[in-house]
Symmetry: C2
Subunit: 160 residues, 2 copies
DNA sequence: GTTTTTATGTCAGCCATGTTGACTTATATA
DNA sequence: TATATAAGTCAACATGGCTGACATAAAAAC
């Protein structure tokens, strides 16, 4: 009886393979966010704060709309966490230069520091996983995740 | 000038590569959960209900403690959603046979139906991503996600 | 130059889902 | 018989989504 589980087999998309892919994503995301969540709790912050800090740190000078587009939440939800971050000195808002209605976002020095501490855990975790899996596996990981993402962002992220 | 970005290069763990890995995981999870979330909202349910239904469907007859161990939430949080699912006829609880303190969980026919409809989207999305990425990429995707997961579950899931 | 649209912020209230802490019940085990 | 375990419950609280309504300033259209 032929081995129907070899990687070259076109039937690799059967139910079990998909179920496994779904579960691995659940477990990985669960463990990936657990430690930063615990650190954030000490500041009275939550995961939403981490996301805002992360993307502002990644895109200094980004507009509020751009951040909303990434997070896919309402501006009311965003402003709750963004307001806290501004009031507590982690994020700065400055009027845009060509469009003065815009509020350009950037991390303060304190914000940069918090972002680094928060993501350190995730970077270390991912670095270990990458190292143990090897470069080819990393390419596959990226290719599949890219395929999961909706078309619009997939194109934007494709050559990242 | 040599291409320092080839997949064989040992420097592939630099900052940018890790950042990309983090962001792909964020975007993929965001889009992976968006459609089931919308369906659940029509039932007055949320993502927590989906997780409970999914894992009970996957492990018929599982105990409450086993489910708690997977979801990593408190029993109070779980019981809120589990109670709703039982009251509304999606999940059944039966006393265990060898240990009658246990409540063994399983989906009703209605529950099986809901689970299938909820996960259909995710299975289709993942199937497309798998198909387009190819079997080698799928293996890499699984290997890296497995590496992200904490040791305890990693061993349990390794030969899944 | 006036009107309209856009970018952003804000107030109020609702819901889902996580938390802690205290307590109960039934059953298994020592 | 005493203790430990599996599960459920009540109460209160926080985070972070949501909707809807409204305000302000600046850009863009007319």
């Amino acid at each position: 009886m032929a081995d129907i589980k070899t990687s070259a087999n076109p039937l690799f998309l059967r139910e079990d393979e998909l179920r496994r892919g779904i579960e691995l994503l659940f477990y990985a995301y669960r463990d990936f966010t657990a430690e930063p969540d615990a650190m954030l709790a000490n500041h009275g912050f939550g995961r939403a704060h981490h996301r805002a800090i992360y993307f502002v740190g990644r895109n200094p000078g980004m507009t509020v709309s751009a951040l909303l587009g990434i997070l896919r939440i309402t501006k009311q939800s965003l402003n709750r966490v963004l307001g806290q971050l501004v009031r507590e000195g982690f994020v700065e808002r400055h009027a845009g230069v060509d469009d003065r209605r815009q509020r350009l976002l950037r991390l303060t020095a304190t914000g940069v520091d918090l972002e680094r501490r928060l993501s350190e855990n995730q970077r270390a975790r991912l670095a270990r996983a990458y190292r143990e899996a090897g470069a080819d596996a990393v390419a596959g990981y990226q290719r599949v995740l890219l395929g999961i993402i909706n078309e619009g962002d997939r194109e934007k992220l494709a050559n990242g």
